[in-house]
């Protein structure tokens, strides 16, 4: 490394030698304690989040006696006591999953295709210009995507369909565009990590670029590409504000893709402020939050499963 490091190292050696043995040990111990306590804190934070949200999320089932099956599969959501109380969250669960999958359907081919372009076709230009730009786009806040959805995509859909513009389709486009840079950037990293040797071997055998991509690169990179897509989906599933701004937040199941829908996150952001703590409605919102928590664990398990296959 640099010279300054060497000098600082030697100066501290100097001091260490002068130090009594005891203080060195104390120092060492102190360092260890600080580092270990930070590590423990991270564990505590994770456990606390899981525990608090689980307990709070289960309140509606334990305290209010909500039937879990009805909650997960019911189609009517009317928890605030207008008419009959009903707490079927299925339309929101459906909404979250359809936004996620539709967004992935849009972002995965486009993202992976662009990653291949960047790493295999236009290498220098792709990696010097495109990749940095895409990495910057990963950092664009989601509310900005929501704003553009609201001012551009919603009116566009309104003009070209019978509906009102706010729709599942708008949500899907906004989220799809939002996760596109994420998917592209992780895919490009995965493709770059494929050893040049095996590509050269393929070209050496007379394979065309497409054959090399299709027969060699894609199979080798498949687990990592799948991870990229799953990470994008996890982000899509948990996205709240951008979706809420464009999806229309209707509590009924959408009949078509241009129909309004709602997601778990959009209902939470929309209703949280209107409920009083401890009421059935409020507890049900925490239960929706619990579904989000459980799903983020599920995404981790999927990613672990995929990467465990990579080692085989």
């Amino acid at each position: 490394m640099s010279n300054s490091n060497y000098s600082s190292t030697s100066s501290s050696t100097h001091r260490l030698i002068k130090n009594k043995n005891g203080s060195v040990k104390r120092n060492e111990l102190r360092g260890k304690v600080v580092v270990y306590s930070c590590a423990v804190l991270i564990i505590i934070a994770t456990i606390a989040i899981t525990l608090f949200l689980t307990i709070k999320g289960l309140q509606s089932f334990i305290v209010n006696g909500v039937n879990v099956g009805e909650f997960l599969t019911g189609l009517t959501w009317s928890p605030s006591g207008e008419g009959d109380v009903a707490y079927g969250a299925f339309p929101f669960i459906f909404g979250s999953f359809s936004v996620t999958f539709l967004a992935a359907l849009f972002a995965a081919p486009l993202g992976i295709g662009s990653a291949i372009f960047m790493t295999e076709i236009a290498k220098t230009w792709g990696q010097k210009v495109l990749q940095p730009v895409i990495e910057i786009l990963v950092g664009i806040p989601s509310v900005v995507y929501g704003l553009i959805g609201l001012t551009v995509i919603v009116p566009l859909i309104r003009e070209h369909s019978s509906g009102i513009g706010f729709s599942l389709l708008a949500g899907m486009i906004v989220v799809g565009v939002m996760i596109l840079p994420t998917v592209t950037s992780i895919s490009a990293d995965a493709l770059k990590s494929i050893p040049q040797d095996i590509k050269d071997a393929s070209y050496g055998l007379g394979a065309t670029r497409w054959q090399t991509i299709y027969k060699v690169i894609l199979p080798a990179a498949m687990p990592s590409l799948a991870t990229a897509v799953v990470l994008g989906m996890a982000r899509a599933f948990g996205e709240a504000l951008a979706v809420q701004m464009v999806i229309g937040n209707s509590k009924a199941l959408p009949e078509s893709i241009t129909d309004q829908a709602a997601t778990l996150t959009s209902i939470i952001t929309l209703s949280m402020g209107h409920t009083t703590y401890g009421s059935l409605h409020n507890n049900l919102l925490w239960s929706l939050g619990l579904i989000l928590l459980v799903m983020s664990y599920v995404f981790i398990i999927i990613i672990r499963f995929i990467s465990s296959r990579r080692k085989v």
Partner: protein
């Protein structure tokens, strides 16, 4: 012949993918910046927002965003760096290390709204902090911690083993080696990562809805005593950040110039996020050039 045709088709498909993506993203940035720039002037940046009249600015929101960012970094950088040091240097393969790795993974994959709900439950309600900057910063710490941990671990691991061994061979203790050799050597990487994560924290909104609140009290920008309620530095007041403002004016705003305010705020937000990203890149590049130049 056949091979060549399929090769050409495939190549054009990939080019098309890239073109579609680039077009989308360029349009995105262009749209925000061109629409937003028209709204940005000094009075927009330096006047108070109005909840119902035309012509509100974003002075307080901008200040709140930076203040919450600073607080978040104050909490998350030390914790994250030390956590990263643990994973890179002190962890032995085993159950506890696995638990920590899983924890970091869980924290990093939590949707930000879930982090916000946790913040509402624990910081706002149980700890009685109310909707406040400090509650918001604590929630964002949860959100940012895993990023810093990973960046630190990666940066330390990428230091050549020789360097560490040389230090240890001189009889320097482990902790001292970490302090005097590893952390300084990993510093450029950590710094770059921290600045990048700052961009993410700066734009975060969902985690702040339920923790830092949707409003800002009247601030007196001549009073810098953090313990007074009108002070901009008071960490116990509610604070609406720039990204929360964009969401709020769009979904609840009742002023007539909602679109102008939203576009202007979005452009300001994007510009700062770009500044964070570019400066991280430039700093990283400069330091990398220095290091590799000397080698």
């Amino acid at each position: 012949m056949n091979r060549r045709i399929s090769n050409n088709i495939a190549t054009s498909v990939f080019i098309l993918c890239a073109v579609v993506m680039i077009a989308t993203l360029v349009y995105l940035l262009g749209y925000i910046l061109t629409n937003g720039f028209a709204e940005i002037d000094w009075s927009f940046l330096s006047s108070n927002s109005s909840s119902f009249q035309e012509g509100g600015g974003i002075k307080n929101q901008l200040w709140n965003s930076f203040y919450i960012l600073m607080m978040t970094m104050l909490f998350s950088v030390p914790l994250g760096v030390l956590g990263g040091i643990y994973l890179a240097e002190y962890s032995k393969p085993g159950k506890i290390t696995n638990v920590i790795r899983t924890s970091v993974e869980v924290l990093s994959s939590l949707p930000s709204i879930v982090v916000g709900m946790f913040g509402l439950l624990v910081f706002v309600q149980y700890m009685g902090l109310g909707y406040s900057i400090i509650a918001g910063a604590l929630a964002l710490t949860v959100f940012n911690l895993p990023v810093i941990v990973r960046v630190t671990e990666d940066s330390i691991r990428s230091i050549p083993l020789k360097q560490k061994n040389a230090s240890l061979a001189l009889g320097i203790t482990h902790w001292h080696t970490v302090k005097t050799v590893l952390v300084p050597a990993a510093f450029p990487g950590i710094l770059t990562g921290v600045i990048l994560s700052a961009g993410r924290v700066f734009g975060e909104a969902a985690a702040l809805l339920f923790t830092a609140g949707l409003s800002t009290p009247n601030l007196n920008f001549t009073n810098w005593n953090p313990f007074e309620s009108t002070s901009p530095l008071n960490p116990f007041r509610s604070a609406e950040t720039l990204s929360v403002h964009i969401w709020k004016v769009n979904s609840q705003g009742i002023m007539p110039d909602v679109l102008e305010i939203a576009n202007g705020s979005a452009a300001v937000l994007i510009i700062f996020v770009l500044i964070f990203n570019l400066s991280a890149r430039i700093i990283g590049g400069v330091i990398f050039a220095k290091i590799s130049g000397k080698k």
